[in-house]
Amino acid sequence: MTDEVQRQRADREAARLLAARIGLPGVPVSMREPEDAPGPGLGTGHWQRHVARLSGAYERAALAVAQVPAGGVREELDDVLAVLCKRLDRYVHIAEVGQALLPDDDTTDLDGTAPGMTPYLDGMAEEIDGRLRTALTHLTAVAAAIEEIVSADVGSGDSDEVIAAVDRLLTGVPAP
């Protein structure tokens, strides 16, 4: 390594140290080395954790539905799952926008947060975060209700009541 390259590296490191102290939180993305660049898609931090929780809620619902024997009720519940899957897909895309706007990764501390820590959010990033939190509340409520309905009604054959209950879940709480 030449002296010039070493000097440039030292200068840039000094600039990053200063940047971590002043200005916006963390070290600007444009000043980082490639290994500390924002992760693509959902990244490896805050936004990815949002999606992991949302996916967990969906999986709960799917597991509950899987217990229901084939038939009319099962078909209705499969339709509900399909709706939830589409919503989950939409939330994933929204979380990707969050990562694009305000990247957070557990693979670097240069974004201003330690692994697992929630980043400082404001403006649209805070709005997206709020929407995903609302989405999780909704999805979790739907999953819990499906579990309850399934455990109470498996084998009862009262399909109309099950379908009505699930319909109420999907229409009663507006999707974020």
């Binding site: 444009s30 924002p38 990562q99 694009a100 305000l102």
Partner: protein, 168 residues
């Protein structure tokens, strides 16, 4: 094709001005990442067109930062290493020779305005991207696009202090 913003390219030293300019670059990088999350189509195409104007605004921010770094290298956030050097001067502690405020607050404000405007445009792009994902058949997209274009125009107009960039 727009060049990727490079925070290291202008001669800005490695102090405050470099950091603020890098944050301007970050806004444009965020805009690029947001557009990349959007599905192909007319809206994404229009946002890609607007990106050219952001490059122009970033260029103007670069010139502001260069000017500030040239005129006021030690302002307004002083590099601790520089302060140590001044303190260690064999004649006297030169830190006391430094004033208490930036000589040209207008220049600093102009650069901070540019940063704010660029980030506002990135936020508007994110708002549009979320809107499209929430409602793929949204009918109010032209209104949103129009708002975004206005934001870009504002960014282009903002942050140019009188007397500094007449040739820009």
């Amino acid at each position: 094709m727009n060049a990727e913003p490079d925070a290291w390219a202008p001669a800005l030293g490695f102090g405050y001005w470099r950091v603020v300019y890098a944050e301007c670059c970050d806004a444009v990088l965020a805009y690029d990442r947001i557009v990349a999350t959007m599905p192909p189509g007319a809206v994404r195409g229009r946002l890609l067109e607007l990106r050219t104007e952001l490059s122009v605004r970033l260029g103007s921010a670069a010139r502001l930062a260069e000017l500030a770094a040239t005129l006021y290298a030690a302002w307004p956030e002083r590099d601790p290493a520089l302060l140590e050097l001044l303190a260690d001067d064999p004649v006297k502690d030169l830190r006391k020779e430094l004033g208490t405020g930036p000589p040209d607050p207008g220049l600093r404000e102009a650069l901070l305005d540019a940063r704010e405007e660029l980030w506002r445009v990135a936020e508007d792009a994110a708002r549009l991207a979320v809107r499209l994902r929430e409602n793929p058949i949204a009918t109010d997209v032209p209104t949103w696009l129009s708002g975004l274009a206005t934001g870009v125009a504002t960014a282009l107009a903002a942050g140019t202090p009188a007397g500094h960039l007449e040739d820009g």
